[in-house]
Symmetry: C2
Subunit: 367 residues, 2 copies
């Protein structure tokens, strides 16, 4: 399993792992892929700085990346308090009532740390600044092209820039803006996702950006056969996110609470839902009693980004503290149906590589 | 491009073409694939009989198949008149008003031939009886397993039975019922379709039914790269429907009216919508002013099968007669974005085979 992405990023296998866990990211890098640490949870740049110190010390000198959430145009933004004033009381009442009905206990008020502010442009920019002081080799942006000065800043440090795209026209525009690597993310992916499935999207993106631009396949990848399919469609590597959520390394990032992993291991590929309730933009989530409640008649329409996440952030904390797998609020792709045990990253990586070889050999016999 | 499906069905390439057009079906069979004629439009068994006479005479002695629409349990049914009584007047008023607003002209009342009755079990059963008098080698059922006596009837004629499945558990049940070939149909497919995308669904179905059962990949296939991806995922062939709608042979089945093909050629992969307005069950359609109208606030909820199709059948006729590409009512998959010219079947087939070889060669180099 070797493509030109391996030379471009200095990795053994063209497997890029997006993860909010530094333990997973480091393990993927050590196993020959590229671990990409999601930065959106770091409200304070100093906390990211410390975590990247840890990454530098735990990746055997091998490359890793970071993922930020940054719109290409700088939006108006305010303090958390100002933003909160835009949340209608009906929405707050619905969340409070729903948590009560779902049996999610109250927790000590913890408003200071609540709410993911990484959606805010200023915070995302601090993530870039901090990352470039560390040994990162890739900055990926979940919202497409970053602003042009950020791309220049990365390039001046010898760092490649990747951007997610759910449509071929967006991929084209990212490349025109100076992005080096396109992540083509299909409908089946977890988190923020578009409507076009990977089988259709991938060759469209490859044809649109031309064969000189490396395209990574995101959405629906959790086996060597799926990596082979992605490469057959023209990708030169894969971007996997959900798949690492049921690793032993991820458990370390959950303070060894296994509730979320229990819920994922039990879920089938039918147990996800694409909804705006997590962030305000359509994102695929694990289907639970929490997501069901938002689909009942009378449930409010989700608010736009970043208000919706501010609205539900305390709920997310209470849900996490409840240790109830039936209310978990978690982005995950349809590949969750293949995540049926908690296993170490190194084992998953070696299985991907070996099954990939088998799939290619099988195809060769049909020639 | 050769798999065990070729031996099983006596074909050169593992490409199965579902199509309502006998011209397309015969051309695919002549080009080395398996043309499968959709029977749902034949309200009279005698008309199907005549068309299959034509198929027998125009396929150079090569195999072809038919597709019926038959639930495994025999539902209650009534005459068209009795069924029509269940359609609420508000629904009829919405359709009449919408057609007026869209500028679709009235046509001469043609109630006798209007409405697809092939959804009815009795009609679908007549399709099977007629087909078995002809040189068919495959009977496929769009609604999953046919009743067990129909499977036995087909097998006693040496005819294989295929069934569509959108979930792995359904595929398992089809095989347990005696079905020979599973068609795993992903979210991106045209017509009736489930929620799980091909990239995730295919290996799930293959693993669920075991490697002895041939699985065909449906949804998102319109290039040799996509055939290679399907086979990498474990399919032993592909089932393609939408892709043949923009062939010169299909034009013959449209009385040389090119309106629908113009609409398809212009559409991108974003220009489809999954909706219950065509038949009462979720089906992916070309997105037009007609489908948009059903998504406006105040539009009625579609009726269950078979009432919804009875409701819209006259509208479909008026829309077809209007020759306006912006109101076309047509099932099609996301692959419509790759259907950018009207071309002969033989040309598309030879391109699929050649691009498939290139994709496999490219993969071999990554080994």
């Amino acid at each position: 399993m070797h493509t030109r992405l391996c030379e471009l990023l200095g990795i053994d296998y063209p497997i890029v792992a997006f993860t909010p866990s530094e333990h997973v990211a480091a393990a993927v890098t050590r196993a020959g892929g590229l671990g990409v640490l999601g930065c959106v949870r770091f409200n304070e740049a100093s906390a990211l700085d410390e975590t990247l110190d840890w990454m530098d010390a735990n990746t055997d000198g091998k490359p890793y990346g970071v993922d930020v959430v940054m719109p290409s145009k700088i939006p108006e933004e305010g303090t958390k308090g100002e933003l909160s004033n835009h949340i209608p009381p009906e929405h707050r009442e619905f969340v409070a009532r729903t948590l009560r009905e779902l049996g999610v206990p109250e927790t000590k008020a913890n408003d200071e740390t609540g709410g993911v502010l990484g959606w805010l442009h200023s915070i995302a920019r601090s993530h870039v600044d901090v990352s470039l002081k560390h040994r990162v080799s890739l900055i990926a942006n979940a919202l497409g092209s970053p602003p042009s000065d950020v791309i220049e800043q990365a390039h001046s440090h010898g760092v490649k820039v990747a951007a997610l795209a759910g449509k071929a026209v967006h991929a084209r525009s990212h490349v025109d803006n100076g992005v080096d690597i396109v992540v083509a993310q299909g409908y089946e992916a977890g988190g923020h996702t578009g409507e076009i499935a990977s089988m259709v999207l991938l060759p469209e993106v490859v044809d649109q950006v031309g064969h000189d631009v490396p395209v990574l396949a995101a959405g629906g990848i959790g086996s060597g056969r799926q990596v082979a399919a992605a490469l057959a469609l023209g990708a030169c590597g894969v971007w996997m996110g959900s798949y690492w959520l049921t690793t032993t390394e991820y458990l370390e990032s959950m303070n060894n609470s296994s509730t979320m992993q229990e819920a994922l291991v039990a879920a089938t590929s039918s147990d996800t839902v694409r909804s705006r309730i997590y962030s305000g933009k359509p994102a695929r989530l694990l289907k639970t009693r929490w997501t069901d409640a938002w689909q009942q008649p009378g449930a409010p329409t989700p608010l736009p980004m970043p208000l919706q996440n501010l609205l539900v952030s305390e709920a997310h904390q209470r849900i996490a503290a409840s240790h109830d797998p039936t209310v978990v609020a978690m982005p995950v792709g349809q590949i969750v149906g293949r995540m049926n045990a908690v296993r170490p990253v190194a084992e998953l990586m070696s299985e991907l590589v070996s099954e990939y070889g088998d799939a290619v050999d099988r195809l060769q016999k049909t020639r």
